[in-house]
Point group: C2
Chain length 229, copies 2
């Protein structure tokens, strides 16, 4: 786990931030275990702080804490994966509409800068960072809509989306969704709420369609079945 320790004592927020980013960028894969002592050593704090951080990430859906077993990066089930994107499809289109009606020039510039960074990350083959920036793009739109409650929910959904993508994405390399983001920015700039709403709806459907969310009859995950080929 390539997380850098802080020179001075890290806060709960520092730990949550760094660990979250590691999950978002798929440096920590679903199922990975986070031992408390290990995190303590990495950040140079006591277990009290680490446990607060892990608990916070559990609330966000990033971790699953099993009693007396430890904290693990969540592994969303197929049902949860579908629910995440159903919820996003329910929330984000109208949020994009609201954003279009409120977007300032500075907002647009920020989004364009965001897309540029995303492209740069892809050019560097840093698909993990690109994925995180892609998520941040959606969050930025929610922020522009000036709906903090929705934004908070969306933050959780984007986090879980990252886990879903780690588990169910078909082609790991191709993340060619920047066109959709460009089109969205255009709609936001022109204040076209209808268009922004439709584009966002289509964009989410597009992502959804690229997930392999078919029922895997191996849901049993029986070891016997898995070994017989």
């Amino acid at each position: 786990m390539a997380v850098i320790a802080e020179s001075k004592t890290a806060t709960v927020e520092d730990i949550v931030s760094q660990l979250s980013q590691a999950v978002h960028e798929h440096r920590l894969q679903p199922g990975a275990k986070l031992r408390e002592d290990e995190v303590c050593d990495l950040f140079g704090v006591s277990r009290t702080i680490v446990r607060q951080a892990l608990r916070a990430m559990e609330f966000e859906g990033l971790l699953t804490i099993k009693k007396n077993r430890g904290a693990f990066v969540s592994k969303p089930t197929l049902k949860e994966a579908r629910e995440v994107f159903q919820a996003r499809a329910l929330i984000e289109p109208s949020t994009a509409r609201a954003a279009a009606e409120r977007a300032t020039a500075a907002d647009i510039e920020l989004l364009e800068h965001h897309i540029k960074e995303e492209h740069a990350a892809l050019d560097r083959d840093d698909s993990g960072l690109a994925l995180k920036l892609s998520g941040d793009f959606h969050l930025e739109i929610a922020r522009m809509a000036d709906q903090q409650t929705i934004e908070q929910f969306l933050r959780q959904l984007v986090s879980r989306s990252s886990l879903v993508i780690a588990l169910y994405w078909r082609r790991r390399n191709a993340l060619c969704e920047s066109n959709a983001h460009h089109a969205l920015v255009d709609a936001l700039r022109s204040g076209d709420g209808d268009n922004a709403e439709e584009l966002m709806k289509g964009h989410l459907l597009d992502i959804f369609s690229q997930l392999d969310l078919r029922d895997r009859q191996g849901g049993s995950t029986s070891l016997k079945d898995a070994l017989r080929r």
Copy 2:
């Protein structure tokens, strides 16, 4: 329902549940302070457990923890109050539609039982309990829709709605919204998704229209008194 200290050591969930219920029923008013030692004595556990419970309630939006100051029942601002009901208006209608398409006879019976309890509580002049049951009614519908992610969000929204109502409700005594709930159950029973969606939308608008936009100072309540009923 027994409140006050348990004979055997209470768990974090016990404390969250009882404190949450106290907030939902307005026995704990927005702005009330929850001192850690006091909660410790009430439930007979150490501060470690109490702090976990308070932190969990903060994540749900019920409490606001100020560093080195303590935990207080949240006081949603006017903007937050609007956002809560805007979010509910966004989420709940489609949830009601999904529920209508999936409702079983047992589900309908449960909802009717719920309404009966709510009426009984109102007859007993226990408006606090009636309010909580009213919120649970909405959560029950989300559960019927089989959307756990949405249900989880709605749980937070219902919690915050309780705070909003405590602060901004016009007529504290009159909670005559059971008609809307009855109509909803009828729509759910007949599997009429369109109607359920419309009824839910209207119901939420109705509640929203009864909120008072003037600023109001909420009285503080003693924790001990609030938990003893």
